[in-house]
């Protein structure tokens, strides 16, 4: 009896070990499938275990057009083309959308670009450049959809080469915090723009898309980017003679103090060197050059440090990868 009991116990232990191994194998198999899918975007597993998650996703993001001019320098995958997708604007488009969680190339066209669409003769963005970027939220279910959208910039130096199996240009990413901060403060993104007046600055928290959506329909979102020519456009009053004489426009409404507030609270994003007593300097320049209290030295300090920052960006940053993240 004791012998039998001991044998049974041994058998049970063996069984427990086997079951445990089966479980481990299952976990490993499933994880490998996910990892495999995540990193390689291998089409073979589409519709497999990873495909299940895709089917459960309720939206994708996408864009219309062709590859950007410099996409060969950027590690990103080709999206999936959906033909004749109806949009909320009444048109139909061929939409290149995200799939399997991979980072895809944002398609560019004549109306939506950062001077990087095919055929664009510009040789790069610079202070004074501005434009529109369009993308679509593609609904896979009829539902009330809320998507948080974020923009992120990755800076590359001049050593970038064509991306290959062994080169993803990650060694060319500029990690210098100051340069990253300055770029963030000088190339600005807004949710709205009317007649050259920008509003709703897109900050670190991104912005939301919230709508009742219909299955298989694409919802157009436009965002506006601008690299101001001079700091004057953000700080001087609209009718200031400095702006008028130089034939440049203020790009925010006179009542919009978003940027000047940031000049004070996060000046390292805007000015190359620290400006002493930035709070009162900004307040003084905001008065405008016609105001008797306006001190030209303050204006010169702002302008000089802003321009130096532009110079720093222009001379060190060769390419900027703009990534739109939706979740």
């Amino acid at each position: 009896m004791t012998e039998k009991s001991s044998r049974t116990s041994k058998t049970n232990k063996k069984l427990a070990v086997r079951v445990f191994m089966v479980i481990i194998t299952l976990v490993v198999l499933v994880l490998s499938a996910i990892t495999f899918g995540w990193f390689t975007n291998n089409k073979l597993i589409e519709g497999g275990i990873n495909g299940l998650s895709d089917a459960n996703g309720i939206f994708e993001i996408g864009a219309v057009g062709t590859n950007g001019k410099y996409d060969n320098l950027m590690p990103a995958y080709d999206g999936k083309t959906l033909e004749n997708v109806a949009t909320d604007k009444g048109s139909t488009v061929n939409l290149v959308v995200t799939q399997n969680g991979s980072e895809i190339k944002w398609m560019m066209n004549d109306q939506s670009n950062m001077e990087n669409n095919q055929g664009n003769i510009s040789d790069g963005i610079k202070p004074g450049s501005h434009g529109t970027l369009t993308f679509y939220v593609y609904a896979k279910q009829t539902t009330h959809l809320t998507v948080n959208l974020n923009l992120e910039m990755t800076l590359y130096n001049r050593l970038v080469k064509d991306v290959t199996d062994i080169n993803d240009n990650s060694n060319c990413i500029i990690k210098d915090k100051k340069l990253n901060d300055l770029t963030k403060g000088h190339i600005l993104f807004f949710e709205e723009c009317t007649d050259g007046v920008y509003s709703k600055l897109i900050g670190d928290n991104g912005f939301n898309f919230e709508k009742d959506v219909e299955e298989n329909k694409a919802y157009r979102v436009d965002i506006y980017w601008v690299w101001p020519y001079v700091a004057d456009q953000l700080i001087l009053p609209k009718d200031d003679s400095i702006l008028v004489n130089n034939e440049i426009n203020r790009i925010l409404s006179d009542s919009d103090n978003t940027l000047t507030a940031l000049f004070k609270s996060n000046s390292e994003y805007f000015f190359f060197e620290e400006i002493t007593d930035i709070q009162s300097v900004v307040d003084n320049v905001k008065l405008g050059s016609q105001n008797p209290q306006f001190d030209l030295k303050n204006y010169q300090a702002i302008t000089e440090q802003w321009n130096k920052a532009d110079q720093e960006i222009g001379s060190k940053v060769a390419y900027i990868k703009l990534t739109l993240t939706a979740d």
Partner: protein, 231 residues
């Protein structure tokens, strides 16, 4: 008997555990995917490096070689002297303006002409001997550049007060001929001597002329500044 029952129960439990785990894992995958899968889309923009606009002498040599030197105004045969200079950049885009600033001790008339290099010595206005390779280069006038003084008194080659503060600030004890005249060309110049990827070199001739007979070489000097700026 009891042991066999327990044994069976254990086996059943183990199999159930195995199945339950498998189901749980398969169910967990899409849910995990649901939560972790971000949609990401990227584009790459090129940043244009700041354009460096330079002024140089003939043959795109350093501006230190633009030498106005001595001008003999008492030679009755000669009433003008010309110099070549160039505006160049390693970029081939953008337009620019020229500015000339000069004091007014000597009543020269200043004119700037678009110029082009030529091999024909006879049609050349200016001969430039390279300071780098001692070769001689010839330049001829193409067309006078239209421009205007920003602060000239009417009918006189003297400055008014308009640009005094830009030049001297609050300092007011300035002799009238030391007040510089500022001249700018009227419309922005698109680079002419485009060399594609290598940028451009545009040549100009600065001509100083005077009326003969009423001038003496009496050690008067003038300061002349040439500036080119992107617009």
């Amino acid at each position: 008997m009891n042991s066999t029952k327990n044994n069976k129960k254990f086996k059943t439990n183990m199999i159930m555990l195995c199945i339950a785990t498998a189901i749980a894992i398969v169910c967990a995958v899409p849910v995990l995917g649901w939560f972790t899968k971000q949609r990401r889309m990227s584009t790459l923009a090129k940043v244009k490096p700041p354009t460096a606009l330079n002024i140089g002498a003939g043959n795109k040599e350093d501006s230190v070689y633009i030498d106005l030197g001595d001008i003999d105004v008492e030679d009755s045969q000669v009433t003008s002297k010309s110099f070549v200079f160039c505006v160049y950049s390693d970029e081939n885009k953008g337009s620019y303006k020229l500015q000339l600033a000069h004091t007014t001790n000597i009543p020269f008339t200043y004119k700037i002409y678009f110029a082009s290099a030529t091999d024909d010595q006879n049609e050349a206005t200016v001969t430039y001997v390279s300071k780098e390779n001692t070769n001689t280069y010839y330049y001829k006038k193409v067309k006078e550049i239209q421009g205007a003084y920003l602060n000239k008194q009417a009918d006189k080659q003297i400055a008014n007060e308009n640009k005094h503060n830009d030049t001297y600030g609050d300092y007011n004890n300035v002799q009238i001929n030391a007040e510089p005249l500022y001249w700018q060309n009227t419309s922005a110049i698109n680079p002419i001597g485009n060399q594609g990827e290598n940028g451009f070199v545009d040549y100009y001739i600065l001509e100083l002329s005077w009326k003969t007979g009423n001038l003496k070489n009496d050690k008067e000097t003038d300061m002349v500044y040439l500036t080119a700026g992107m617009v």
